[in-house]
Subunit: 137 residues, 2 copies
DNA sequence: CGGGATCCCGACGGATACTG
DNA sequence: CAGTATCCGTCGGGATCCCG
């Protein structure tokens, strides 16, 4: 259990800022996080992942997995059988990433209702949701 | 409310999955995380944030702050002075979110080089970075 | 100073068809 | 099964102008 720092010193922000922005641009897309989370449970093959993710297109799953592989988060193992079989598995780096990601996931799970309530309250006050914002699911 | 588990069983993934996807769609945009991180240091006014974030447009900062306000992560305080002054501050929920976010930020900062090395190694093997659908740039 | 209103573009990502 | 190759719509988000 890593002691999390309660406060970020202002002086360190700029540098830390870029790192966060970078990593977020990488894993902040629509599927990466959930792929990592699923592979965190066990190694899976392509079609398993596709079914598990529910809604991902084949193209995006391929792209997502390739990029995760490129960044060193997953390994791709091809079994030259018929029919072909490809396994995806988290690397050490992938498991390291899983820790903070799982924490965020746990937070999201635990605090979902608080966000929903705040949102509903705001909409009552303001008369409607904010235009132009996060992607819808 | 279920007790938290270190490992998420595969059976619970779908539910947890949606929560993560939702929260990530919300804060996974280009600026939200860094706004929260900056406000985690101290309360700031609009133009302070704008300067601190380096590169954010006025429109996106406004939109980001509105949505964060809507979701209950920040408060917006207008001082009816001349010139006007608007302060943004994290709510309790915002500080709660800051914890896992800061952990992720710390991870990003600490592991930046590992990702860069993996990426460089992959590009050497494959002959170039990934483009769409696994092609090379 | 802190926005709101518009215009616009490029990417992200879905649908579909084809292949080894 | 596990991809590749295309086409194409959506919208995130930057630029610009205006206003109280």
């Amino acid at each position: 259990m890593k002691p999390r720092r309660p406060r970020v010193p202002a002086a360190e922000m700029p540098d830390s800022c870029r790192a966060v922005t970078e990593i977020l641009n990488r894993i902040g897309d629509k599927w990466s996080i959930n792929v990592v989370r699923h592979l965190g449970v066990r190694k899976m093959r392509f079609s398993e992942l596709r079914r598990a993710l529910d809604g991902v297109s084949q193209k995006m799953l391929t792209t997502t997995l390739r990029t995760l592989e490129r960044d060193g988060f997953v390994t791709r193992t091809v079994h030259p059988t018929i029919p072909p079989r490809v396994d995806y598995e988290l690397t050490r780096l992938g498991y390291d990433l899983l820790a903070p990601v799982a924490a965020l996931g746990q937070w999201a799970h635990d605090n979902r209702s608080r966000v929903e309530e705040a949102r509903a309250a705001f909409d009552r006050r303001a008369g409607g949701p904010v235009r132009k914002a996060g992607r819808r699911v």
